[in-house]
Symmetry: D3
């Protein structure tokens, strides 16, 4: 079979080979903060919005999204995660902060799973409250911590 | 059948009924901005990262994510979207901005589809470049514009 | 092209053609009941189980499952449902009853969507409480009501 | 970063951490029984229903559903199952019984996978036959057996 | 907000806007042929392979895949298909031919749905029989016919 | 519980038990070739088609499809693949060839994952270019190579 030309192979996207990496315990923590009017936050905390229970729905959406990460992020490896937690807390009169923690015993890390969980929880907060406030902004989404694997532990700087 | 007790029905989450809403042309635009080291942005723009073509992968991930919105956001209605576009542009030496535009002819709007597309594109930028820079932050994700439906047109304030 | 043989075409499964059916408002209601020890029901209602909030999780799982019906049931048509509600109530000291209501404006009904929502909510109740009680039984899952479409309204007999 | 308030963390749903559990061979068996008119059962067994082959479709739907369990049940861990079987048998002139067996080598059990497979097979039986009989009832869905893991073997009581 | 640079926008992939297209009845037919040893075809037709019923499984896989098309093909629009049929026939002692027919009432066609159904059915034939024969080749997959929409009717040339 | 009849159990489809198989490094390579008019190939290579970047979109679609294999092919086991690559090359003035390579460390092989990746990439090539040319034919899809597992290494004959 003649191969006349290789199209654009340098730089093409691929799922990198992690077959030779060690299986270790890995963990990642990510956060996402959403800013809103104080009236909107009151409506959320008093469970007075037409779509119903904002906080529980966002938390569950985040956990379920962690399991969909490799379906969403094209070059992510599918991973059998062993734990996922999402907590949501009020950090000011106008902000909620989502923190997602994901663990796996595997050949590659769960940074994207934690970031995806935090982000989808924040998007769900937006969805559940948007009839009251379309000006909400997800102001900061970032990795806070990871451990395990060859590159070792990472801790984000304080903001 | 005796019904002894109704558990927590006030405030419970549900997918609101849009059956009586009009079918109209609807559009939404959302953005997500990611900040990084200038060296990281150079690696992205010169296509020099190990996972390959960052920009094209993020754009396609965003478009595919728009179609998964109702699978991710628990109370979102499934919608047969008629168009999805994601553009990614350099807005400074240390930032990329994703803008997602989604359209539908339907009974409810596509704000969440646009926000999901922008967010997943930004998360994919993170994933493709994270071997070089774990300090990247998605600094702002918000709805810019929507039109169609009973609540009419919305335009975000300038930042 | 010669066609030597038709394999087993009579009786083969297919997604029946609903293209000529009218678009009407359709609704379906289904229920699923789960029996358990009274101690288990107490643990659920006092939110004392290790997996956390049983009722809210089951309700959200049921709503999300309604949207996955055509992905689970092979010959079901994909439908853009316009509403989904799941309520869960205590019907005795040893039983919870899930009732799911789904609506669509479309060419075919949402009986399977309502049944799938009720069933997945009941399975989620089992999952959340199974560390305390593996003997739980989902004792009855059935269609209660449907309206819309050529076959008109159906109402189940009392049990 | 100040944390002003922790919202509702006690009792919130999460995917429990199974990272420290042993990897063992695990198996689960579940059943689901569906009652119908004897005429309906005759139509199923003679393959005379408009949607086609009821039994094969239900069996395959059950097996495929076992693989979707962690996507349906919010707090279930994703598991690389190693085997799934669904059998369907006539248990009286008016009833079919689905039995699903699922195996895995992993850190947590496959009870929910077996229950989901049995249930989705039963729902598919309903879907394939509902044009003839909407009064069918899924009368009993339960775990029959599990083995493997710290809690050991479980066998259901006879009905 | 300054926009310093537009990255590669000419030629970037997007889901084209079909919002202004007419809603019409549309149909597409596609085929996929798989060649194998005559012994393998005998094993398939006598249902003697270890994975079980090859033909029924392939047919159902094809129908279910039609519903997943927009999840697989990045720039495809999600479409509420109204009908899907897959037939499989012996066309020689060494070949099976899959033919998939899909219909929709919508703004864009179902060519990709028909091609995806035919292809996944053929891949399933491969999977079910590969323990006996890894040399099977899917020799021809193509669109046979489409109707509806602005571009009208298309009929493939005879091979 | 009396079991009156076993329906069609001989020959019924099931996911075969791989629990006792060894965990080994496994790899599979598959190809799919698509034939088209030379004018169509020129449009693809000059990135002049209305849907945008054909090659990058097809490559990414193929990689993402590898991860969906067990969701598409009913009796495939879910596998945590460790690597996926798709390359697309011009093999004549009228043909593109897709080659997909997938790896896993697991109890069963990735032949279907490689075949699914190659096929979905080829279908995406069709989708991206079909506005210019509906006569394209996917002329050959086959397994080229596999290694690992009890059956050892397989290499296809030259065409």
């Amino acid at each position: 079979m003649t191969r006349l030309s290789h199209l654009d192979q340098k730089g093409q996207a691929h799922m990198v080979d992690v077959g030779e990496k060690d299986i270790t315990s890995r963990q990642a923590v990510a956060e996402s903060t959403i800013e809103m009017k104080s009236e909107t936050l009151d409506l959320i905390l008093s469970n007075a919005l037409p779509k119903g229970d904002v906080i529980a729905t966002a938390r569950i959406a985040g956990i379920m999204a962690a399991k969909k990460t490799s379906d969403l992020i094209p070059m992510c490896h599918p991973l059998p995660i062993t734990s996922a937690k999402v907590k949501i807390e009020k950090t000011s009169d106008t902000s909620l902060r989502v923190e997602a923690t994901v663990k796996v015993t595997g050949k590659t890390g769960v940074e994207m799973e934690a970031l995806t969980a935090a982000t989808v929880a924040a998007l769900t907060l937006y969805d559940m409250a948007k009839s009251a406030d379309k000006d909400m902004i997800i102001t900061s989404t970032r990795l806070l911590f990871k451990s395990g694997g060859k590159s070792g532990t990472y801790t984000a700087n304080s903001p």
